[in-house]
């Protein structure tokens, strides 16, 4: 008999890993996300009672599925209205069979999570609901956890999720994997959700810390799952590569007191070599076999950063060339801004500043801190300290993250000595 602590920890780990698979299989069978969620939760509860007593079963996934299926059948027997509603959705024999046949081995339980990815990330849902639903349904988080991650009250998040689930049900958003011909249209939407979860964690828009590592970890974990489900999709490999190559710098990005450390000043010995190697392999995979997608190009840029011994020896001409490619396949003011910064590294601050000046009237950058912060840095390097100070002040007005705010304030103090 194993001791309780170990078993409970084991149950938690299994739950986290199995929840998405379990839910996806149940949704496939019953066509009802609410019912699937309820009986999945009940099966987990049952596991928490019986596993510590009897030990973790040999095939935890199959055990959970069988238990959840029984609970669903019980519930439908008790609740005729619910059953009638499902009959309306035609829980036909073919579908019941999918759920009724928990295979002998976990490997035989088909992985239905891809359907769930495409439903949770459906373009008919608002973006904030897509990220929330993905973390909840595929990440196995409960609503308070998701709410904490996005720094909103639990009630707000609960309402967001309820509305999204209602739309899935009433507008009949399907739990289906797009056909090969549609994938090019739909996959970017799924990748965007995962990318947003990652960037929200990596450069937290609000809050006290610069990074919210739980979000970063979850984005990486979900992207790994997606790549296992779609191994031939090079942009999935590109996105995972990008995440790993950026995340490899996490320990060097903040100092002991949580302050932002710029790329130029980072201790490159603290970069995670294993993540870099994995990322580099994935970059090659994402760039091989045709025109690269936007995530592959961004990953290639990240790879050039981590491959250099220092900022001076970074291959800036190549980085500018990659930003040129990115600006062509996925134009955006953010890409132009980053390209201008790379040009400043290649040709000097004056050249970069001229490019940034051209972006000043872009309404999409207005109200954000990125453009004034970038201009401030180049003006500072040119010794135009008064103008730099004005831009630092402008950036400080809109920055939402405390670590970045501290950094900008430090720089402002440097260019306004004696103030």
């Amino acid at each position: 008999m194993p001791d309780d602590g170990r078993v409970v920890a084991g149950v938690a780990a299994v739950f986290r890993e199995e929840h998405g698979r379990l839910l996806a299989t149940l949704v496939r069978g019953f066509g009802d996300l609410d019912l699937a969620e309820e009986v999945a939760a009940e099966a987990i509860e049952a596991a928490l009672v019986t596993w510590p007593r009897d030990g973790v079963p040999r095939r935890p996934g199959a055990w959970l599925l069988t238990t959840a299926r029984r609970k669903a059948v019980d519930r439908l027997r008790r609740d005729r209205n619910h059953a009638a509603r499902l009959a309306l959705l035609r829980a036909d024999a073919e579908r019941a069979e999918v759920v009724a046949a928990p295979a002998g081995d976990d490997e035989d339980v088909p992985d239905e999570r891809l359907r769930l990815f495409f439903a949770c990330c459906h373009p008919a849902l608002p973006m904030e609901a897509r990220t929330a639903l993905t973390l909840r349904c595929l990440g196995g988080m409960d609503t308070p956890e998701v709410a904490r991650l996005f720094l909103v009250p639990t009630a707000t998040m609960a309402q967001r999720i309820v509305r999204a689930k209602r739309k899935i049900r009433d507008a009949r958003i399907p739990f289906r994997v797009p056909a090969a011909g549609e994938l090019a249209d739909r996959l970017p939407g799924v990748l965007r959700v995962l990318y947003l979860v990652f960037t929200e964690g990596y450069a937290a828009g609000t809050g006290t810390g610069l990074q919210r590592l739980d979000l970063v970890d979850e984005a990486v974990r979900l992207t790994r799952i997606l790549l296992r489900l779609l191994p031939a999709e090079r942009e999935v490999a590109g996105l995972l590569a990008l995440m790993l190559l950026v995340d490899a710098r996490r320990d060097a990005r903040v100092d002991g007191s949580g302050r932002l450390v710029l790329l130029a000043d980072q201790d490159r010995g603290r970069w995670d070599r294993a993540l870099i190697e994995e990322g580099q392999t994935l970059v090659v995979r994402s760039l091989t076999g045709g025109d690269p997608g936007p995530y592959a190009v961004q990953a290639a840029i990240a790879a050039l950063h981590v491959e250099a011994a220092g900022v001076e020896t970074t291959d800036w001409p190549q980085i500018v060339a990659l930003y040129d490619v990115l600006a062509r396949i996925e134009p955006s003011p953010a890409v132009e801004l980053n390209r201008a910064v790379a040009v400043a590294m290649r040709d000097g601050p004056t050249a970069g500043l001229a490019l940034l000046d051209a972006l000043r009237d872009d309404p999409r950058l207005r109200g954000g801190h990125l453009l004034p912060a970038a201009r401030a840095d180049l003006l500072r390097r040119l010794g135009r300290t008064d103008e730099a100070a004005a831009e630092y002040r402008a950036a400080l007005e809109t920055v939402g993250n405390d670590a970045e705010r501290d950094f900008l304030r430090t720089r402002l103090d440097e260019v306004t000595p004696g103030s």
């Binding site: 009638a84 035609r90 579908r95 008919a124 009433d170 958003i173 399907p174 289906r176 249209d185």
Partner: protein, 136 residues
Amino acid sequence: MMCGTPPRGTDEPEDPVKYMLLIYVPESRTAAPDPAEVGPMMEAYENFNKAVAEAGVWIAGDALHGTDTATTVKVDDGGTRLVTDGPFAETREILGGYYILDVPDLDSALDWAARCPGSQNGGSIELRPLVEFPTG
């Protein structure tokens, strides 16, 4: 959404659901249609009508007269009927026509909407599932 994507069935039998496709067009276009555009537009709609009929998803569909023919009725709490001239709200885009299609799910409805001329050339289509009231 690229147009011309062939609509396809789902990979499993589904209970069909009816969607209303509300076609919104810029007011200027309906007020004074460009004669050069009318012919191709009519032809595009004829092709679309043929496609939805052949796929067996068509339930209903009509074009509407302009908002200058619209009348709005509203009954207040006292039972008084308020009839006003014109559409409910002044907008740049007006409801120009509709389709009701019977398809398996939203993805399928979106495919049809993307093929419909009403979603092209500056127009847009709003999709709303029809409420199915239980019978009996």
